[in-house]
Symmetry: C2
Subunit: 142 residues, 2 copies
DNA sequence: TGAATTATATCGTATCACGATATAATTTGG
DNA sequence: CCAAATTATATCGTGATACGATATAATTCA
């Protein structure tokens, strides 16, 4: 069985487009919030990834790269900027001394907490619509 | 009542971070898919917004800017590139001749359809996790 | 010990969107 | 009917990122 030329309905295109629209609105909101807090969006995301790394361990550079979906050596630059602004500290790992672990400073914590609060609120506002759109995308066609 | 210094739990940070991680994975997937199809991510998004504009009317430049959350004159450049590559056509609006409306060419339709199919699949894969995370974010704390 | 892992660094490239500003066509409102 | 608003277009420089390519260094592992 070769190709399965299944036509996509207008309704599905609309749902996909609407979802993207919602996504972009969220990202826009987030960018504005970060800027207003005096950090770049990337710095905000990195801080969240550092603080929200699952489990009790501190995140490493390599893990941060994965969580941010950027390359290893792009991450180093990003962390350098965060350290320069005193939002983050590097911590040596005793077990494996090649690795560096990252932790927020008090300064970083404060900013992240404020940002996280309004992000939570915004997400709660948007959640119903997004959930609905995702639900609408399943099954039906294709 | 002034400030409400409500502390955010580790679990909430983790949920926010996990949600971002999922989002970035989706966006990464989408970028790769677009590149593989021979268009830039922005071109793909614009085509989806054009095709998935709600209702029967064709979208205008101004409306496209809003849907993409970019500025008006950035949109013009994006559309120029889409027209140059023959993915999109400009259509004059007879009612209001200041406006330009946009429509996909057959060439554009084909690419968008393929991309939309795999995006639908990917979203169906990711939907349960995202829905769960959004659910987890509501209420509780703050 | 040699290979793999982890972090760091540099330098140029590419991509985008923006800011600022301007022009033009057209429509709308007082 | 004319002035103001709307819509699209254009140019040019700026800024922000991430990437590719490549290299070095420290450390761990097989």
């Amino acid at each position: 069985m070769p190709a399965k030329k299944r036509k996509i309905t207008k309704a599905r295109y609309e749902a996909l487009a609407e979802l993207r629209y919602a996504l972009r609105q969220f990202l826009r909101f987030s960018e504005n919030a970060a800027q207003a807090a005096g950090v770049t969006p990337q710095q905000h995301q990195a801080m969240l990834a550092i603080k929200g790394f699952p489990g009790p361990d501190l995140i490493t550079i390599g893990e941060l790269a994965e969580r941010l979906q950027i390359l290893h050596h792009s991450t180093v630059g990003l962390v350098n900027r965060l350290v320069a602004e005193r939002y983050v500290q590097r911590v040596m790992d005793r077990k494996d001394r090649r690795q560096v672990r990252l932790v927020l400073t008090l300064r970083g914590e404060t900013i992240l907490e404020n940002l996280s609060t309004i992000h939570s609120e915004q997400l709660q506002r948007m959640a119903p619509q997004i959930t609905q759109l995702l639900k609408g995308l399943r099954g039906e066609i294709f």
